[in-house]
Symmetry: C2
Subunit: 890 residues, 2 copies
């Protein structure tokens, strides 16, 4: 036999373990692992991800040996639980669940209670001594199986139940008797037969085949595909399928089911945290239909809930649970997310996995586990997704600002956001696409809402707990979420919601505070986050490990200050053109551009010089003691001129220019492809006086800043868009001459570097020549991506979506560096540059400088530093540390 397709677990013996995640999926591996640890796991078996691959490779058919292996494994399960699949008297019921390598909560299908039919339901009734329970289970099974496997719309079943309750004037499901359910079951079976032209399958083996087929099939459902795209999960991983003996949390008041975390997934507090429902199946907790109870007394008291805790209700089971949780956390060395069921007082573990957590929680858990000695500091760093820090860095609500709180719910995902109310996911996506910020308001969310949740700034639901779909997904996305705000009534048809007499219509602005659970009318001012405590600890640990320097891209004093607070070690890119747009200056800039000759340009530049010098003095002061890289003017000159004729006339009037001349110059400077036009160093070549003015402003500012701070800054002057060594030589020569002049005038010596931005493929290839003259390189990977791909970033929106959706590109290369193409160019340039000048400084200042995957690449090829926007500096610090750790391991 070439492959083993099925792995058993439970009953104290398993064929797999947690390290076999790729083959068994996360759930299957962990069920086997828990069983190996001696924990009570209902026996079952995992059909491997290789079956999934074979299934799709062979036009959705299964390997021929699979059926026999399943039959044998079913016998193992039957023996373990003392039941028989399809037996009337001792019926074995099973669940059939997906379990992929990476968690994809709610994305794929599940069938429970499989094995029930008109005969076995009677056996179940007899064995459980609860006919109503048996019939309820059967009707749930028919409904779920018909929906998932047979494709019968679930509304049909809901309508039958609603009608039946109306007919019998019954309000609650709990009021229905076994006979009622029996009547409903026959109506269910009727609608299945009408819809599918086949009676509901009574053959339990056929039921099982159908369910396995459906679960494997759900790997390619639209919502699963979307989820994988959003989460970078490869298509070819496939899912495993777990078939497991059913245990029942709905066998009466001594039964329960729940989900829990070994630590608080929202705050990271080291305390068991979770929710449960008495007399319920697991799906009931996650679905958010009933509001669940707290597991611990402490949590119940903190939440001010009156529903008793598990600790109080079932103290023995609670104690057992606590012990198991502690054991699992120690075993896995990470906070665990668990599912359990108590059947008639006996505890069963249904799942364990590393729990998703907020960024705050991730920091706290990592720091505390490292301090507890459970993990090393490096492991702690590897536990935190750098991108998740983004949540912590952005403003929260100003506590002093007035808030019109209209409702409260659960603080399901931290952070605050304001936006216009929308009630549908499609609408959220549409509004976002045209530039609106929206808050998605739903009774509850389902996997079909993923795209709308992604588009929304914040999410508000009126039903469901901290582990409801909305809460789990929002935390994963880092989107603020308030869940279970029960006082809110959503009127979907009227596109409005109300709290008492307050009515909020579609499009009205609200604010949700996912940290407090408040829902606020209108927008609320926000404040900067406090970056101390665990955050500061992790940053310190990261700084001890990382090899890459971290600088920032900053053009303004404000940005520079924020970045320095966030730990930037200098400026890697100061774009001087932004300084030219200031209303005072633009007049002189335009006069310069309109001048007919060098003399006229120099006269205008003389006016700009003192302003430009003042800019640099301020930046040098803020960054005192740190390097500041200043890029010479980069954009084409037409960017500084007015766009329309009316504007041109107005400006001409303002600066005292001839309107005709202005219009002519605007027309003359127009370009077909400005990105590839007269810009970058080409401006310094044709109008060297501009570069000279900038160099003078820099050198004069050095002296002034040194006098003010007592620490002379070291400016690094960066020539943009170099394609050839000769360009660089000509411009460096001009800069050096200005330096000589300023030094002669001031009598002081100025230390400075002249280097270049490497942002063209040709510059990468001829980097050896260029490095012989340039003292540093900074990779401008935005432009390098544009030229390597031949794609204008500004124009790419028309097809980039289709490119990533079709998998032509795994990710937009403007977001994460394209290692194969752009990356090779950067690597070639680095190698050749270092060969020519071994001590050359190599940095990156494209937006990739703040992207963790790109930072990992930068570490691998040995760059000196990365430079990113101020708010990404902490992310870069952590990412750089993780890159260093990953490289040690590799």
């Amino acid at each position: 036999m070439a492959s083993k397709w099925v792995y058993r677990f439970g009953a104290g013996q398993s064929e797999g373990n947690a390290s076999m995640r790729a083959l068994l999926g996360g759930k299957g591996g962990n069920l086997a692992e828990m069983s190996n640890l001696g924990l009570p796991v209902p026996p079952g078996f995992t059909i491997t991800t290789e079956v999934c691959a074979a299934y799709y490779d062979n036009a959705r058919t299964f390997p021929s040996e699979l059926e026999d292996e399943i039959t044998e494994a079913l016998q193992f399960v039957s023996d373990a639980v003392g039941a028989e699949f399809g037996s009337r008297d001792k019926p074995l019921l099973v669940s059939v669940r997906s379990g992929a390598r990476a968690s994809m909560p709610g994305m794929m299908d599940t069938v429970l209670n499989l094995g029930l039919n008109d005969e076995t339901v009677e056996g179940l009734a007899e064995r459980s001594g609860d006919r109503r329970f048996a019939y309820d289970s059967y009707r749930r099974f028919i409904q779920m199986y018909s929906d998932v496997v047979l494709g019968v719309d679930h509304h049909a079943f809901e309508d039958i139940l609603d009608n039946f309750k109306d007919e019998h004037r019954l309000n609650l499901d709990t009021a229905l008797s076994a006979e009622h359910w029996g009547e409903i079951i026959s109506r269910y079976k009727q609608v299945v037969e009408e819809t599918t032209d086949e009676p509901f399958p009574q053959d339990v083996k056929a039921q099982l085949r159908g369910a396995i087929d459906a679960v494997f099939g759900s790997w390619q459902s639209a919502r699963a595909i979307t989820y994988r795209l959003l989460n970078d999960i490869p298509d070819e991983w496939g899912t495993a399928v777990n078939v497991q003996a059913m245990v029942f949390g709905n066998l009466g008041e001594t039964s329960a089911t729940g989900v829990a975390f070994t630590r608080n997934p929202s705050t990271g507090e080291n305390a068991l945290y979770g929710e449960f429902l008495v007399n319920a199946q697991g799906e009931d907790v996650v679905a958010g239909i009933r509001t669940p109870q707290n597991i611990t007394e402490a949590a119940r008291i903190a939440a001010g809930s009156e529903a008793p805790s598990l600790e109080a209700l079932m103290p023995k089971a609670f104690q057992e649970l606590s012990n198991m949780f502690a054991k699992l956390e120690r075993h896995y060395r990470d906070m665990q997310d668990l599912e359990f069921t108590i059947q008639d007082g006996k505890l069963w573990m249904l799942q364990t996995r590393s729990g998703k957590r907020t960024a705050t929680a991730a920091l706290r858990i990592a720091v505390e586990m490292a301090n507890e000695g459970l993990i090393s500091r490096k492991e702690a760093l590897m536990r935190i997704d750098p991108n998740s820090l983004d949540q912590l860095l952005h403003p929260t609500l100003d506590p002093d600002a007035a808030r019109a709180v209209i409702a409260s719910g659960l603080p399901a995902s931290p952070g605050a956001a304001s936006g216009a109310v929308v009630f549908e996911s499609d609408e959220a996506e549409r509004m976002k696409a045209v530039g609106n910020q929206v808050i998605l308001v739903r009774v509850e969310t389902s996997p079909e809402d993923i795209h709308g949740m992604h588009a929304a700034e914040g999410i508000l639901t009126t039903r469901g707990g901290m582990t409801s779909h909305a809460a789990v997904v929002a935390r994963g996305m880092g989107t603020p979420c308030v869940s279970g705000a029960g006082s809110i009534f959503v009127d979907q048809a009227a596109q409005q919601f109300s709290i008492g007499t307050t009515v909020v219509k579609k499009g009205d602005m609200i604010t949700v505070d996912g940290s407090s659970g408040q829902v606020i009318l209108g927008t609320v001012p926000t404040i900067k986050p406090e970056l101390s405590g665990d955050f500061a600890t992790i940053m310190r640990w990261a700084d001890e490990v990382r090899a890459l320097g971290i600088r920032t891209n900053a053009d303004t004093p404000g940005d520079a200050k924020v970045a320095r607070e966030f730990g930037a070690e200098g400026i890697g890119l100061c774009r001087t053109e932004h300084m030219f747009f200031d209303s005072e200056r633009i007049v002189a800039v335009r006069q310069m551009i309109l001048a007919n000759d060098e003399q006229g340009r120099r006269a205008a530049l003389d006016k700009i010089l003192p302003m430009q010098r003042a800019d640099f003095i301020e930046l040098f002061e803020i960054m005192s003691g740190l390097p500041v890289t200043i890029r010479l003017l980069d954009p084409p000159l037409h960017e500084f001129l007015p766009n329309t004729q009316e504007e041109a006339d107005e400006v001409a009037d303002l600066i005292g220019a001839d309107p005709e001349a202005m219009r002519a110059r605007v027309a003359e400077l127009q370009e077909f492809n400005p990105m590839l036009g007269h810009r970058g160093c080409r401006i310094a070549i044709t109008y060297p006086e501009i570069a000279e003015m900038q160099a003078r402003a820099i050198f004069e500012a050095v002296g002034e800043a040194a006098a003010r701070t007592g620490e002379p800054p070291i400016p690094e002057i960066m020539v943009p868009l170099i394609a050839t060594r000769a360009e660089f030589d000509l411009i460096k020569d001009r800069i050096d001459k200005v330096a000589e002049q300023v030094q002669a005038e001031s009598g002081g010596k100025i230390d400075y570097l002249v280097g270049t931005m490497i942002e063209l493929p040709r510059a990468c290839l001829t980097a050896g020549e260029i490095a012989a003259a340039a003292e540093f390189f900074s990779f401008g990977t935005n432009d390098l991506t544009q030229t390597a791909f031949g794609i204008s970033r500004d124009d790419s929106a028309r097809f980039m979506g289709e490119y990533t959706a079709k998998g032509i590109l795994p990710i937009d290369p403007f977001i994460s560096i394209d290692v194969d193409g752009v990356g090779e160019l950067v690597q070639i340039a680095s190698e050749r540059g270092r060969a020519a000048r071994p001590d050359i400084k190599l940095g990156i200042c494209g937006e990739h400088g703040g992207d963790p995957a790109s930072i990992d690449f930068c570490h691998k090829i040995g760059l000196t530093y990365v430079s990113c926007s101020p708010f990404r500096v902490p992310i870069a610090r952590l990412a750089a540390a993780r890159a260093a750790i990953a490289a040690e391991v590799a």
Copy 2:
């Protein structure tokens, strides 16, 4: 002593030879070589090009040892001719001439008769027995030296002479006596002293130092720099300086001076060809001031001249000359361009070098020399500049067309051209820059006119012979030229010329036929050249040698036909978008673009399909038996839509579209950087139905063409602008599906290839992956140059001139491939492509495919073929052969 700065020649012994061209310059090396061959060369010495380098490296000062070496060499010359430099009784006179590695005719300075002063002139008078000659020589020397060395404007001297002649009522220089010249000399010296504040130098050593300094200095004159730029001569080569004993062609009626070619430089005929003047100095012949006489009787008779030939006038010297010419041609194995002087009956050789020749002459000489056994066929191929063939390929005047011939001159440079009359070089350049074709009309041209001659389509002079400045330069440029059209009177002030009563004003159209010497009023229709005879022979020889295939870029049947006649071996690039602009089709194309959905697009495409199919059938028929590479639609769709709102409304009306929708779509499709936008394969990704239509048109055309010609064509379908393998896979899959459909419909099997244009840096780097799927690569080096450099070709005009002028780029990289950058990308792609698919076809279809230097590169890296515009096919054939020969040698 580290270096030897001076090399002697003449008197039967030389320190150098012709192989030392880099050190001694062309002239110096050849003077030494002739001397070594025993030919009568006036003794002299060459100051090497290393001195020139040292001179410029050391702020225009000479090596310290140089003066002593010159003194010793002067003594050698003195001894050899039995005279003494500066001696009154036996004065040695010398010429001081530049001599660079590459010929730069007339570009640098020369001083003759150096060594004359108020004393030695008397000795010269006594020794020559001709006082008038001695004084004439002295005044010539003062004039030349003052102009070249002292910077005194030559007009000052001309004015003195003219005034003197007016005062004495003398018309011709020959009428002036020795005393007259004496008086003029004193006036000359006076103007020198007034202008320079120094008397004219009497110290002959000072004279020599000054002249050497001036000649080395002229290497960096503006006109020399321009010439080097135009002719790709490196700055660092420098010039040598030759100091040589004077011989005199102006010692009376038994003296003469002339220039000659061993074969006819215009037709290539194997017959001695040249001109001379009796009683003249060499400069007089080249300057074109007197119209020279033919050397042979045959030439005199052919020209219908009454001035006696040298053959008739001085039979002994003529015979000697003929023998020397034959010896030199055999020795150098190439047609020689010679200068000689007969001093009092004795023949002296002053220069030999390989002669410039027209393309026609080059072909004939190469073919005949190979047939004579003087050179090999491969050498013959290496003798022809591929670019020069361009002259032969372009139309000549239709012999049947009416011609209003208004004047005749010498057929100085073949080919015919029409254009507007201009009288100044600056004006010629200006008019050319704004898109006009001009004919430059001058009395005579000088090196100051180079830029105007370059701008002109044709040149007409009223003075000067076949070896005049205008004639030599025009032939070098391949520009048609009629010289010495003496019946034309140019009135520069009135900006017109006249022949009798016919007046032609600036801006009037004329035609010059440089093959017949005719000047024609208005424009004349032209016909295609005959490509047989020597041309066909050379092409055959080239085809035997070359490894590269030659294809053509052709979109129309007309282009395809021309290219096939020129020897194209298939189509390397058929741009299908050109087929979409046809007025019948553009309506359907626009409907397609305006369609709201795929269905609407498919409906419009259905209308285009039969037209597109007909295009391909025609191309396949013309290229029957040869491969045809068809590129899928490449430009962004907005190129097919109207530009202005008015046009948009009009078009909307025409195609029955909503004007609002049309305007909206035009606006929607607008791009910031169309070159980097939604184009190339990105169109096929987002609108696969367009690629499918094109593929269907191609496959259906294959069947039809096969039926018509009996030979099924093999289409090579080319996907443009591929950046990733995944793009290619998606599109190839669509193409293959269409092929299956068409094969199923027709029942026949279609052979085809699907490959890609490699025109993005990323594609070059990932060429290994792409080649695993693509069956051929064609390098689109236009776009690859744009992306590698980050330069939009359309926008580069604003700075490219400055880039090449400042030497930042040696040549516009859109003209000749940038080997270091773009070339390395092509090489990387070729290597990786071949590694993945050893038999991959590799071609180039950018405009570099027709550039000889780029073709050489393509051969070196082993491409399969180059593809170029039809008129460059013969050039490419020859260039490919030369590349193969050069590679054998290397």
